[in-house]
Symmetry: D2
């Protein structure tokens, strides 16, 4: 099951009574998850360890709407981990929420992860063959089971995690909470981001740096691909970088995090997302200039690339749409026939800004093409003279097996049509995508031969999956 998610964890600190902390572990996780909410809005959960006991609360919905103050206050504990989960078709049920909490022979374990195991079916079969049973369809349950299985023959939970990792193939940024310890792991290719911060002497872990910023923690460093980290009962950080499984493997950091998924104020593996997007816009301006009156973004994810395009091209930047932020999950959509009457639900063109103008519209990607077609038609209806579409990523031609739920191969418009055909289908006056060779530049590499050399994953654009 594909899923994009976010994780956040915090340790109670070196010593002293954690009840004296300026912010409780659960409250910190709450704020961290709230900062990571863009990574998943379907469900959320927080697990805490308190004097050797694990407890979790999991909910459907947004963090800010799912936890009330009494629930949060009741989640007393020294260490805590949390999870936000993306809405996926099927599987939307409370049982699939994370963190998953389990009991086993040697204790208890809570697991939250972001990613996707490619060999999940195989691992599940192996476990099942020995009698394992599964109550969910989530990778996190499988991961927990395998770790626990390895725990039987291991001296420690961290050793069990490392042993388990030698069986895992795919993407995972993982937080495991035992009654006394916190173990953190990132897959050897580092598909999904995971970073370390410090807050008043406590260790903090977050999918993105924006989680650290929100709780006021200082960035310490990224968890390295293949690294396993233990925070012991004294709050000491131990890194198992050198003898980790996958040591020395090719890295495969997801390039799409920079283009679309991550929050623009995050810094992933040393590269500010904001910079990548600005550069993508600038590269597009160079690659595909056009005479225009105004550069407009498709809000919110296209803003930085549009600013970058405008600045590099010298064309004025402006807002072309108003985005309605009040679309809740229960919004009653107009029917298809009502929509044909040009009912605008989420994006409304800003007529005064665009009427009579030649526009460059910058967006981050085209998946199925239908959204692009709708908003271009809306712009034209509102009086835009020309709409030149510039996409700050290459055509998406392949699905992701590493934790981003984009679409099936059949749904991807770039898999069926070439750029000119897409241009016609969406009704643009011109259309260009960022060249695939430019991707390494987004992450400060001068080697444009391929993303692989810079050790990032561009499989959705190249159909070339990291082994």
């Amino acid at each position: 099951m594909h899923e994009e998610c976010g994780v956040f964890g915090i340790h109670g600190g070196a010593a002293g009574d954690f009840r004296q902390q300026s912010i409780s572990a659960a409250q910190a996780v709450y704020l961290g998850l709230y900062a990571l909410q863009h990574r998943g809005q379907e469900s959320c959960g927080i697990a805490v360890s308190n004097a050797g006991v694990l407890r979790a609360e999991r909910r459907m919905g947004l963090v800010s709407e799912s936890f009330d103050a009494p629930t949060l206050v009741a989640l007393t504990g020294e260490n805590a981990i949390g999870h936000v989960r993306y809405s996926t078709a099927g599987g939307s049920c409370i049982e699939n929420c994370q963190p998953i909490v389990t009991r086993y022979a040697k204790g208890r374990l809570a697991v939250a992860h972001n990613g996707n195991l490619r060999n999940a079916d195989e691992l599940r079969d192996k476990l099942a063959a020995t009698g394992a049973l599964f109550q969910t369809t989530a990778d996190s349950e499988l991961i927990a089971q395998w770790i626990i299985r390895e725990r039987m023959g291991s001296r420690s939970i961290e050793e069990a995690v490392m042993r388990a990792m030698s069986h895992f193939r795919g993407a995972y940024s993982l937080l495991a909470l035992s009654p006394r310890k916190l173990v953190i792991a990132r897959d050897p290719m580092g598909f999904r981001p995971l970073c370390i911060g410090k807050l008043d002497g406590r260790w903090v872990f977050s999918s993105e740096t924006c989680g650290l910023d929100t709780v006021g923690a200082e960035f310490f460093r990224d968890v390295e691909p293949g690294e396993v980290i233990l925070i012991d009962t004294n709050g000491e950080l131990h890194s198992f970088r050198d003898n980790c499984p996958g040591k020395g493997a090719r890295k495969a950091i997801c390039i799409f995090e920079y283009i679309y998924f991550a929050r623009p104020d995050s810094v992933i593996d040393g590269i500010p997302v904001h910079n990548s997007r600005m550069k993508a816009g600038a590269l597009l301006a160079e690659q595909s200039p056009v005479k225009a009156d105004l550069v407009i973004p498709v809000p919110d994810s296209g803003i930085e690339a549009a600013v970058g395009y405008a600045r590099a091209s010298g064309t004025p930047y402006g807002m072309g749409f108003v985005r309605n932020n009040y679309v809740g999950r229960t919004f009653i959509k107009p029917t298809q026939s009502e929509r044909r009457k040009s009912i605008a639900v989420k994006l409304t063109p800003m007529t005064q800004s665009i009427a009579g103008k030649r526009l460059v519209m910058v967006d981050d990607s085209i998946v199925r093409g239908s959204t692009s077609a709708n908003i271009i038609r809306a712009l034209k209806n509102a009086g835009a003279r020309e709409v030149h579409v510039r996409i700050s990523s290459p055509p998406i031609i392949a699905p992701c097996y590493f934790g981003t739920d984009i679409a099936t191969r059949e749904e991807l418009i770039s898999n069926r049509l070439n750029a000119e055909e897409i241009r016609q289908e969406i009704g643009a006056d011109s259309l260009d995508f960022l060249r695939i060779g430019s991707l390494p530049l987004l992450i400060d590499s001068n080697d444009q031969s391929s993303c692989a050399n810079r050790q990032c994953c561009d499989a959705c654009f190249s159909d070339d999956y990291p082994a």
Copy 2:
């Protein structure tokens, strides 16, 4: 009671079975209110008239989270009006929600309005002296009572509205739904916006044009200050412009709608809000230039002015903050002591964009000053070299008595401190406000002597209230 709100109404059309309409009256109001949601998030309501019977559903919360599909479908009817309401301190209860529905000797009446009656206490006393009782503290109940009182000696509901208006002092944009008719009125000074659209031959009324755009209606014209409009049972529009109370009065369109309150894609009384804000930015750039590396907006309301400033000054525009859109009403805020640890809840500075830079930060207004101080400190912590604050409106020195809930006189920082003192208090490197004389330029008037001449209300900046 001060309140900013939004209203939306639709008539069933000239003839034929309204059940054949592509969109039901209630569904249209639902979408219209959703587009006007920025005008009020506390409560919402929809009233429909169906074969001579009035029904209403009112809810606390957002439109998109308060109405489910069965409720909306059950609101069958030809004509409908709706309301969204601003969150005000005290008085947050279902009883105060609109539209208010009442029964009286000659029938029934539903009323929704946006605005504030200055002589509400006096009117309430007059009614009370004759035995009236009030179940709410809302102006809409008072307005309904007075209209109904006038209805006794009138030949029609529209006549009753006109008679009632001769007693009302202050701001009101009013929709009144009787079992068969729809009556619309705007106060003689036109404080609050109200416009007319057409959708497949049906008349539509909305606080702002963005409501028309969202349902796919064409703009017809604004309701004129002092105008009363009747949509009769045949769907004919009758205007009572000439013999209206207040005919020829000075107009007093709220300038703050242009600066802050309205949605940027709306056009109010002929002036696109987007243009006003762009111009405010350009005027500020002229009035108060500064050597800087980047112009950043305080999102979302400062974006247009920042773009205008950047364009006029030649300084690059960029995003300086990420705004978290997932703050629900039930968000558990960190305590004050936690916040001192620089926990950023709603706006997070985009370090990579601003570190080491000289910034111009454009915002729409400063009310109490505390928010400005917080975000300037956050920018500096994130490495901003200089922060030059430019406010796209003059200092607010007086409260609003016409329906915008800003603050009491004592809370207004500009009432206590001059610009230099404010600059010090908020920690800016420089600070400037738009000159009050520039306000008329925002609405395309060349007469800079005062807003009064252009017939708009700038009382919050000038302390000079329209009579």
Copy 3:
């Protein structure tokens, strides 16, 4: 609108800080309403007066499920009144809930009442003719409006209540809470019960004595028909019995309260409900003996009469049904076709108790007949040899205009069929109703000529309505 309801009120006591009371006014009303819940399950509400300010919370649903502890704690105040409301067809909305709270020229007033005004339409028209408007269809709003109208020319709220009462026709047991006083009134014919208790020096008012018992208050006396009571700011009780409107009128205490509506542990106007029901059973046994093996009640309202019948006849008493108390309001009923498969939802026959037996089944009344038919068929299916039905009240032939929502004249089976025809329709082996002449005996009167002489209302049985 017909409605059976319950009211409960408490005064804060003679002196001293009411915050020191062992139980708060709102908590006492909460418990009192909970004891009166059998009088109405649709909605509930509590109003409190606190230092001259009135507040109310009203909810749909049961008291115990509608108020949470924080809400109850927040209802601080010295005096309080409350209301539970019967579920009526139509009009199920939060607006119609009581207590109603109003503002008027001289202050504020909260009103809760049980009963039904016969001249409500006429009164509403009179008020409407002077411009009054109504936001609900509830009598309580009308009563409040009329009291407030009279308040204009009165020296006190109690005087206004008395003046208003001279216009009211019908049934009302009324609690009115002003910012400092509590006024209680019962209509001159005393249709609905209302009693006075004392709790630690505080005055308590309740529809039934079971409300007093539940809060631990001592019974003081009943409010007399036509009496107005004032509890002043010093906690002194003043009775306006002598110069009350309706002084000396014929009384018309509802006989159906004794037969069915009231709780069996209540004492109404001096007569224990339990005794009335036991006597009804005994009278039936005398009037209509039958050779049988077992007397069974239709639970719960038929229990006392069945015990009375069994004891008087010497036939053993036993349970014939199990009643499922877990039918919530949201229970998903089987469809009609499913029910034909003899699905038993609320009452299940106790086969072992009844198989092969000749049964006397005692019930309180037959309204439409369909329920009786269902349960007799179920008994027969479960093996009952004979089912002899004995009804502890006469045939209901007329609707109630005084506050009990029984049925329309057309729906009443006794209005269409005679006893023998009903027997056939419901499938009983024999059927008898309590003789109408026996009704006075239920309330300890030896004058069997008619209920009217004992001054109670038996209009639903006699079609003879008190003037």
Copy 4:
């Protein structure tokens, strides 16, 4: 974890389209659980198999308040099982709700059970030692895991169940739903009831016969202790009675089901519960006669025994209390100090029935003694002259390890005090318990030597646990 619960299951029928059934499987389970609701009010759940796929919905709360019509309709499927669960201290969470649904190597399995495994810890340890992990603390998860483990080496799910049973010690009445089959099992000693019914050719299984009655199914027979039943894909019933584990073991049917837990209209293992209770009352009357005016039950569980006592003793029967059925789970209880003011929450004495009388109060058991003391005090306050307490079971001196959550040994008053001491503590004028030697008579055995001979479990009274 001790828990009393109820289970209900139905098979889709021999052939043909189950969508044509008069009642869906899920709707039948819904009604069955509603009839079994007295066995557990904390949570409920329904699992269905539909064309090889298992789905479940589980909820906290009552069946009738937890499932809405759309949810029930969406639970399409041929076979279904359901569960209601008792409220236990701790462990109240959605994860512990049943039926539990699991995936494993050979498919899927849903399990619902009533009972308690004595060797749960040992079994859990054994599984854990091989790497099993547990996400709940419920026996049902353990049972499912063990069945699945056995499934690996078995040819069928029914064989796996039988193999698993050879490891289980304790009480279980078990429904297991595979994608195509339904397997039913009852532990070899038959602690908990489980019966079979037929509904239009479909097999139905219920903890008690009242579940069959409610859906209109005919009683077929009880599941025998140690029996495993398979309903195959053709709807054929196969019994594995002869080669079952535990064949020929001593039986240990729970005597407390007859005394208190089961619904009075149920028939358990051939003995009507109603008869047992009537007989208990009669035996008490013989054993412990007393001169009295009235026999009253403690409602609702003491009613049958009180009727039996009254009939045998010739003393009149009557109601002494009114029970308030409106206590929801969210009822705000008065504080302890408020309760001392004699606030009656659930049971109110019926003063008129008992004042001045010598009462025999019949109850089913005394656990901690505090409730008895409260209600006896209330009766005396209400004027009872004497209160003679007769308990229709022997003193409870030992906890239950077979699925009834009564109390710990320390909490049991009969473990600390003898009958005379208890009498003094609860303030009764006399007190007697049913003799332990009479228990066999409740289930129609003449051998009064011990319950063991009749093959029922009376461990809570005898401290003699079945091996």
